[in-house]
Amino acid sequence: MSPIIEIKNVTKEFKVLNRREGLRGSLKDLFSRDYRTVRAVDNISMDIEQGEIVGYLGPNGAGKSTTIKMMTGVLEPTSGEILVGGNVPYQNRTKNAQEIGVVFGQRSQLWWALPLVESFRLLKDIYQISDADYDNMLALYQSLVDIEPLLHKPVRQMSLGQRTLSDILAAFLHDPKIVFLDEPTIGLDVSMKSKIRTLIHALNREKKTTVILTTHDMGDVDALCRRIVIIDKGKMLYDNDIEHLKGFFGSYRTLKIRVDGDLKTQADVIQNALRDFSVSADDEWISILVDEEKAKVIDVLGQLQRSFSLRDMQLEEISTEEVIKKIYEEGVQ
């Protein structure tokens, strides 16, 4: 079977007006023809198979959204080729729209003033979903999350989490081949995040929907993606499965604790106790960088608890930014 998305040597350039500063500069800008070209996406190639969940990572301004906009057909690539389900997206935007679903983290495609079920009915007619398919989909939703209370609630009265959840359901409603999720868990609390991850995972499994997920949250990536693609400054840095990347940077997590007494002196004591890991202290926390291949965080915590009285603790995952920094510094084999 051929891949559902084929991207070949795609580059996207924007023309940006060189802005000058101050009042005089602004006036000059009115007549300025001084453009500079910005390369937002630089020679990217990848194939994505039906049913994959791909994590698309990169810092802000890396070119993630631009790539997604090209895949959805809102932008036309400057050079290179994109095929989505056999279509060239920007040439057949309306046709392509039938095959894809999108969720853009902060914006909602739902009808603001209406109860969710009305939005669903609208989408049903707009995407020309048959009654049987629509009922099946709602039954599937009902089995995954408790949507009954949401259905009759106007969207404007929903919490951010409920709205995001509803938006994801709306994006999957017409059973698209591909769903683009742009930072779906941004601003949500832990329990909502996990609810949404479970939902995405289940929908992907049930419907074999390809999911392209952009996020800054390594937790999302860990929970959902087998494969990740990392781009920075428009260039592709990494495209492989997540295990490979994990093996590369190790599964480091930072354990932060607070104990009684002076943190600096206590840190030295802990460092002596835990020879394998590096321990440092600042004004608030003692940080222990734990390599989970050597010992589980929970064991380290247990060990510490036996000899110290812990007042507080925190666990930090390695962030996308750190991963990218590490890739830059050390390269990927």
């Binding site: 996207k12 937002a40 809102v74 036309e76 309306t94 999108v102 914006r107 707009i126 106007p154």
Partner: protein
């Protein structure tokens, strides 16, 4: 089946506009205030002119015309420019573009619901009140049918102009000034604020060659003409049809070109 795709948007629009009861009430009050101003303004104009008939219109002719123009405005004004401008600024336009319906149609049908509610809640009551109060100053006959046909075309022309102006927002990324400019031009040159009969001769001629008078002047003159000549009606409707087609083609073309610009250069 295909039509259902669009009618569902109409349906949602009706439900949506019924959600905001207070907004409707406020609008009705605003209109009454506007009409009071209009009443006294024109009363003063007629009083100072010294004659009962100015430019072929009596005081009550003028007033009926302006009241109905206001009612027509309430029902035809779609705030398309605002809507396009806002969705460009907020980036929501990306989501709208990704619906499997062409954007120009999508927007129109999304608004069609509020047409229907506005027609029943503002235009029709106003019309009935005016007709009742003036005791037969409005001829009720075949002209009603022509009026309806004329309004349908007026809606289409108005939408095309709005969409054309809204498209400009893709370039300017600001809406306020453009919207105000459009509103003033359309309302003045269409005869919505001052009946075209009052315009000075050269301007009147120019206005008849512009599309705007087809929006308000044409349907109202058809409605209020007590003794319609088949020829006048035909010319009026024909002109409207012509503008309908021309503006539709223009606005579609401009949108297509602009959108291409955006997909190439990014927004």
């Amino acid at each position: 089946m295909k039509l259902k795709k669009y009618l569902t948007l109409t349906r949602a629009g009706i439900i949506e506009s019924l959600q905001f009861r207070l907004a409707t009430v406020v609008m009705v009050i605003g209109n009454i205030l506007y009409l009071i101003v209009v009443y006294f303004l024109w009363k003063a104009i007629y009083a100072s002119s010294g004659t009962d008939i100015v430019n072929g219109m009596t005081f009550s002719d003028t007033l009926i015309y302006l009241v109905l123009a206001t009612a027509l405005f309430n029902f035809m004004e779609m705030y398309t420019v605002w809507e396009i401008g806002r969705s460009i600024q907020s980036g929501k336009i990306v989501l709208d573009l990704l619906k499997p319906i062409e954007y120009r149609r999508y927007l129109f049908w999304s608004y069609s619901g509020s047409f229907i509610t506005q027609f029943f809640f503002t235009f029709l009551p106003t019309f009935i009140i005016v007709a009742a109060v003036t005791h037969g100053a409005i001829h009720l006959g075949l002209n009603l049918l022509f009026f309806v046909i004329s309004v349908v075309m007026a809606v289409s022309i108005n939408y095309s102009i709005d969409f054309l102006v809204g498209t400009i927002c893709l370039y300017t990324e600001s809406i306020w000034g453009i919207n105000i400019m459009k509103q003033v031009i359309v309302l003045l040159l269409s005869g919505a604020t001052i009946p075209i009969a009052f315009f000075p001769e050269p301007l009147k001629t120019i206005v008849y060659y512009l599309p705007f008078q087809s929006i308000y002047n044409a349907p109202l003159s058809i409605l209020l003409d007590g003794t319609p000549q088949p020829q006048t009606v035909l010319v009026t409707l024909g002109t409207q049809l012509l503008w309908c087609i021309v503006m539709m083609i223009l606005s579609r073309l401009f949108w297509k070109i602009s959108l291409r610009q955006i997909t190439v250069n990014g927004g």
